[in-house]
């Protein structure tokens, strides 16, 4: 850096240029007062932000076209983000950190909702913004609730399913011990018995929390802060996963599986059981799949009965920096309406309205709906904490160490406890 040779005048000029550049880049909200209390009654055009719409039917476009036809003065523009969950989070965080008013309604991954709420970036849905949560699935509402307040409307949900080869196993297993007892069938057919998503990423957190929740363990207490993971139940749950990996019931390569790899292993007929999301159903039923018409779905296995799925999905929230919050609130209510949820469900996205899971027309199209309803009814949201990234890292790093044999199960669970303790500091 040749900065020490720069005379004062130049530095002054440079800093003035800098300051103007910084402020010209548009701090759109005046910093007088709290953004959460401003523009509460504003109406006008708004922007809706969501990750890449991968549905075959183009769900988001359908939703917005319908809304726009009915609200000529309050048009909604769709801002489509990338398909990558991490990038979606970072893009939203950047906009909110800069207090930009360009995003009015945003779709938050369930795991990010608490963080955005605690940072004061999204409106609590109370008073004029209250929504009717009665027709919605209870676990989805819990995923959008932070500190006793609702901060977003569940837009679509997601739960894990157990995919199984019905040509080899006529009756799907209900419990882990039942499932692993059927692994002989896999060995006889020379295929892997069970797999999930065990590569070291968010999917490993999901898989680990499912098995720990299934055996009665939990991660944080009701306050969302106190770590509760260091318990005999959690250890029993993780031990099942680790032992199955060590004795080969879970194939060796499963530790490299994310959703895609695990799906292609099942579709090419290399697995007897697979834990995955509902999206795989259509894919595995398509022509070209080796298991077409040979597989079924069941709720995830548990300790003594049905297990506990970890909840996925997205919640729609109103930006604190929006100029037209009244319109934004109406649009959020529209997203959870019967009409909008029908469109969402038709795009193979699991709806948040309980009633749609019994809709015969939808069941004809998506035979897994009754199973999914059962799975979501017993689902446990991921720890609702504003420090989710750190909590998730503590879970997945320790689970991975236990799977690879770098740590004992007891040490790994104790490590999760310690990691969650340091997450908020």
């Amino acid at each position: 850096m040749a900065l020490k040779f720069v005379p004062r005048a130049t530095m002054a000029a440079a800093s003035i240029a800098l300051l103007t550049a910084t402020f010209a880049s548009g701090c759109s909200s005046d910093d007088g007062g709290n953004a959460l209390d401003q523009n509460l009654t504003g109406r006008g055009p708004i922007t809706y932000v969501e990750g890449k719409d991968t549905t075959e039917t183009g769900v988001v476009k359908q939703l917005i076209d319908r809304w726009n036809a009915a609200h000529p003065n309050e048009q909604v523009t769709f801002k489509e983000q990338s398909a990558d969950g991490t990038q979606q989070h970072d893009d939203l965080a950047e906009h909110f950190r800069a207090k930009q008013d360009g995003y009015d309604v945003v779709a938050l991954d369930v795991k990010d909702t608490a963080e955005f709420a605690a940072k004061g970036w999204v409106q609590p849905l109370e008073g004029n913004f209250a929504i009717d949560t009665a027709p919605l699935l209870a676990p989805t509402v819990a995923s959008a609730t932070y500190n006793g307040k609702l901060y977003a409307a569940p837009k679509n949900t997601n739960g894990g399913l157990l995919y199984y080869r019905k040509d080899l196993v006529p009756n799907p297993p209900k419990t882990w011990s039942e499932m692993l007892g059927q692994c002989q069938v896999a060995r006889d057919n020379n295929i892997g018995c069970y797999a999930g998503q065990l590569a070291p990423y968010e999917g490993l957190t999901v898989n680990t929390s499912e098995v720990i929740n299934a055996f009665g363990g939990s991660f944080v207490g009701a306050d969302g802060k106190t770590p509760t993971v260091n318990s005999p139940e959690s250890k029993a749950g993780l031990k099942v996963l680790v032992d199955a990996y060590k004795n080969g019931d879970i194939p060796k390569e499963a530790i490299t599986f994310k959703e895609g790899e695990s799906a292609s292993a099942f579709e090419s007929g290399k697995l007897l059981f697979l834990r995955n999301w509902p999206y795989l159903y259509a894919q595995a039923s398509a022509d070209g799949s080796a298991v077409k018409d040979k597989f079924g779905v069941a709720p995830l296995p548990g300790d003594k009965g049905v297990g506990a799925s970890t909840l996925g999905g997205y919640n729609a929230a109103i930006s604190a920096f929006s100029k037209n919050k009244a319109t934004a609130a109406d649009f959020v209510r529209y997203l959870i309406s019967e009409e909008a949820q029908q469109i969402i469900a038709s795009g193979s996205l699991p709806s948040v309205r309980t009633s749609l899971y019994d809709d015969p027309a939808l069941i004809a199209k998506m035979p897994y709906l009754p199973t999914l309803k059962e799975s979501i009814a017993s689902a446990v949201p991921r720890p609702v904490t504003p420090f989710y990234p750190a909590v998730s890292k503590a879970i997945q790093d320790n689970a991975y160490a236990a799977l690879t044999g770098a740590k004992s199960v007891d040490d790994a669970v104790a490590g999760m406890q310690k990691g969650i303790e340091t997450a908020g500091s």
Binding site: S15, K119, T256, A390, D397, Y400, G415, G419, E421
Partner: protein, 325 residues
């Protein structure tokens, strides 16, 4: 060296310097540099001395953290983490606990990759320096790996190293190339060597081209063997070019992010400093700023050693060359 035009130029430079007009001419560049380099650097340093926002237990909302002193730095260097029970040594599963292993892995990658690339690059440059039919085609072909974007290279190698990928099939092995500790490190090194050796080769080739042929002829007349010519002529005369190539690659490798991030993300045995920074940004930007500054100082120190001790010089001025000759 006493050409009149050079003298005239020097006179002009002197005049400009005395009249202070020189500053006027470079001012726009300095302002541009201050904006695009100076401001972000100072911002990062300033951020690294502030605490990350934390939760106010009363409201459950985030509040600004205030001044941090050196606590963001001690967090990384001494592995101290705040916890519900006061300060504790960072437990595994926290980013803080991975700092020293990330430093070790980054240095390991740097030493191994740069050494292999320098040796292979030297060999390739020697071959490409020879005159033979199809030399132009070879030089163009060699550049292909360097021309492919790193993200694409990483994906290609990730596919090849998958459990049922081509590598395991060809070797007849069942190795988990993306999760086994040493296998994954090997996979990242292999991909980087494949990608970057051509770049090394071209830099070294440029150095080879400027060695005059008559030096070799004189040595041949004196009866020097090929090995002697290589050791006593090629290497000493190639040293400047070789060191520049090594300097560039060392600085690149110390910052390596994309290859390991795409090939083996999440695997603790290939977590480099840059990967740690990116993961930390999501958990606390100020602490990540401190880690960036530490990384910058490390890169700077190593580059400084290369320049001062080994005499690597990326910007050879005419004066240096005159002194050297």
């Amino acid at each position: 060296m006493s050409d009149p035009s050079g003298a005239k130029q020097r006179g002009l430079a002197l005049e400009l310097r005395q009249s202070g007009k020189a500053w006027l001419f470079v001012a726009p560049v300095l302002v541009a540099l201050a904006v695009v380099i100076g401001y972000p650097v100072f911002e990062a340093i300033w951020m690294s001395f502030s605490k990350d926002s934390g939760i106010d237990p009363a409201t459950g909302m985030f509040v600004e953290g205030g001044s941090a002193g050196f606590s963001n730095y001690t967090h990384w260097l001494l592995q101290q983490c705040g916890s519900l029970n006061g300060m504790v040594s960072c437990p595994t599963g926290t980013l803080g606990s991975q700092f020293w292993s990330a430093v070790g892995i980054t240095l390991f990658f740097t030493v191994v990759m740069v050494s292999i690339e320098a040796l292979l690059g030297l060999g390739m440059a020697m071959v490409m320096g020879k005159t033979f039919r199809g030399r132009a085609l070879l030089r163009a072909a060699v550049l292909i790996p360097w021309a492919i974007p790193t993200a694409v290279t990483a994906r290609l190698w990730e596919f090849m190293f998958q459990y049922d990928g081509v590598v395991n099939r060809v070797l007849g092995t069942h190795i988990l190339w993306t999760s086994d500790m040493w296998a994954s490190r090997f996979a990242v090194v292999a991909a980087d060597v494949w990608k970057t050796t051509p770049f090394m080769a071209l830099l070294i080739l440029a150095g080879l081209q400027v060695i005059p042929a008559d030096v070799y002829e004189a040595a041949k007349v004196d009866g020097a063997t090929a090995w002697q010519r290589f050791v006593h002529i090629t290497l000493p005369l190639l040293k400047p070019a070789l060191l520049v190539a090594v300097l560039f690659r060392t600085m690149d490798t110390l910052r390596i992010y994309d290859l390991p991030a795409i090939m083996t993300l999440g695997n603790p045995s290939t977590n480099t400093l840059s990967i740690l920074v990116v993961e930390q940004v999501r958990q606390g930007p100020n602490s990540a700023a401190a880690l960036s500054v530490i990384t910058f100082l490390l890169v700077f120190a190593i580059a400084f050693i290369l320049v001062k001790v080994l005499g690597a010089n990326a910007v050879r001025t005419q004066e240096d060359q005159r002194k050297a000759n």
